[in-house]
């Protein structure tokens, strides 16, 4: 408990008879309150002098019952507040209603506790006036985005107030949001008042004022100033994401700039073309070819083997082995190049390619030779042709980089879309939503 003197103010309740109906009307803070509402006949009574003049009497077919009883005390932000007034306001354009509870502490003054669609905010009046740019308002370093602008009127009142309240009283209002805060403006002919409201979890209000479950409204949707864990998470995760993308890209650039990327062996390999139209490669019928021994530099690195075939509406199949001449360690591979083209119904088409390549990782340096079995088919004539074989040492790989980009992006993308869904829901009731097209 913040058991300071400020939390237990001494009270001197004044009770008088309603000038309209005679019912007793209590004023909890005479000297502070300028008007009070008779809870039997709903007359608003001037409490600034002992005449207790009726300012206005209004009638409601249905009385709105406050969720927090007038006179209740509760502790919010380490200060004790007493609920002394209750106002229901209505947006004139949409007839949307929300509740406002006037809180009072003789040492700290007035605060408002608002309930909007089951979401609660504690409102404090500020003297500082914001600066404006476009649809933004700025106080200090804090920038608030315009969320609502319109006219509202008092729909229902109960309790006592620091001004002479009147049902039907209209004000211009504007709300600017920066969750969990909302900067609000109320303007009438006499004055313009700015206030900042801070979102409060309904449970905090319920526990502070000991409100029973039945009286608490279930929060609907996302409140304008409700903090979003998803958006908070996105701000951090998004920042990390950018950093990791930059680091990975820098490492990849470094990797690409330090690899050998050198042709270690290249040769034209002769073979005889076949007119066989089947599409079955058969190593038993293939021509065999063995290369001379050549040297591969660098201790441990990958090799890229490229095959370019002179294929024209035909295919070339190669089964190969890269054999270490000293250890007989063998790296085998299979590749097919095939290229087809033609004209169908006056439209030319082509498929396949004349070159293919394969990368083999972790090939130790040393002396190597190739064993190749070459098969082919679909040629127009049987003739002698060559295929080009090339071995490159230490090629920059992109697969690891792409995998890393995928792994590092999954969570941020999910968090981004969740955050966006929350923000779209938040702004769905606003005419100033950044998520709507301007048309």
């Amino acid at each position: 408990m913040a058991g300071s003197a400020g939390t237990k103010p001494a009270k001197k309740v004044t009770t008088f008879s309603c000038s309209k109906c005679g019912a007793p009307v209590s004023v909890r803070y005479p000297g502070h309150s300028m008007s009070a509402v008779c809870d039997r006949c709903f007359s608003v009574i001037d409490t600034t002098n002992d005449a207790f003049r009726v300012i206005e009497t209004y009638f409601k077919q249905m009385q709105v019952h406050p969720r927090i009883e007038l006179g209740s005390r509760g502790e919010l932000n380490d200060k004790t507040w007493e609920v002394i007034g209750f106002v229901v306001r209505e947006d004139i354009a949409s007839a949307f209603k929300w509740e406002e509870y006037l809180l009072f502490n003789p040492y700290y003054g007035y605060r408002w506790l608002t309930c909007n669609n089951g979401h609660w905010s504690l409102v404090t009046t500020v003297k500082e006036k914001p600066d404006f740019s476009s649809n933004d308002a700025k106080i200090g370093d804090k920038k608030y985005k315009l969320f609502y602008r319109g006219r509202a009127k008092v729909f229902f009142v109960l309790g006592e107030f620091y001004w002479k309240v009147a049902v039907g009283e209209e004000v211009w209002m504007a709300d600017y949001i920066r969750p969990p805060e909302m900067l609000s403006m109320e303007e009438d002919r006499a004055q313009k008042v700015w206030s900042i409201s801070e979102y409060i979890e309904p449970k905090v209000v319920q526990e502070a004022f000991n409100v029973d479950d039945g009286s608490m409204a279930t929060p609907v949707g996302v409140a304008p100033n409700q903090p979003s864990p998803e958006t908070q998470a996105w701000k951090k995760v998004g920042m990390y994401w950018g950093i990791f993308l930059a680091v990975l890209t820098a490492l990849q650039v470094l990797h690409c700039s330090t690899v050998l990327n050198r042709v270690e062996y290249e040769v034209n390999v002769p073979y005889m073309t076949k007119q066989d139209s089947t599409l079955v490669a058969d190593t038993k019928k293939a021509e065999s070819w063995t290369s001379p021994v050549f040297e591969i530099a660098k201790d441990k690195a990958n090799v890229e083997i490229s095959i370019k075939g002179d294929v024209d509406n035909s295919w070339l199949y190669v089964y190969g082995e890269l054999v270490n001449d000293d250890t007989n360690e063998t790296f085998s591979f299979e590749r097919t190049v095939e290229y087809y083209h033609g004209v169908d119904d006056g439209e030319s088409w082509s498929e396949g390619h004349t070159t293919d390549r394969i990368t083999i990782g972790n090939v130790p340096g040393g002396k190597y030779y190739f064993n190749l079995d070459i098969d082919n088919g679909g040629a127009k004539a049987t003739e002698r042709k060559t295929m080009y074989l090339e071995l490159k040492r230490d090629i920059a790989g992109y697969a690891n980089y792409l995998w890393c980009l995928l792994f590092i992006s999954i969570l941020p993308i999910c968090v981004f879309f969740r955050s966006r869904a929350t923000e779209v829901a938040r702004w769905s009731d606003s005419d100033y939503s950044p998520y709507q097209s301007s048309s």
């Binding site: 998470a233 951090k236 995760v237 990390y240 994401w241 950093i243 990791f244 680091v247 990975l248 490492l251 990849q252 990797h255 599409l279 079955v280 490669a281 441990k300 690195a301 990958n302 509406n313 295919w315 199949y317 790296f331 085998s332 591979f333 299979e334 590749r335 097919t336 095939e338 087809y340 033609g342 169908d344 088409w349 498929e351 396949g352 293919d356 394969i358 990368t359 083999i360 990782g361 972790n362 088919g377 679909g378 790989g397 697969a399 690891n400 980089y401 995998w403 890393c404 792994f407 590092i408 969570l411 941020p412 968090v415």
Partner: protein, 45 residues
């Protein structure tokens, strides 16, 4: 969540660098993938 992601990202960057230096490929199983002749696809008559 952001802390776990931060740790994961740092470890991934370190492993990426280590894999590049040591010539390790993620999911290396397909390095010597096989291909066979398939002929012209949609245009084959």
């Amino acid at each position: 969540m952001d802390k776990v992601y931060g740790i994961f990202g740092v470890l991934l960057c370190i492993y990426f660098w280590y894999a590049n230096v040591n010539n390790i490929r993620f999911f290396e199983g397909e390095t010597a993938g096989h291909t066979r002749p398939s002929g012209p696809g949609v245009h084959h008559k």
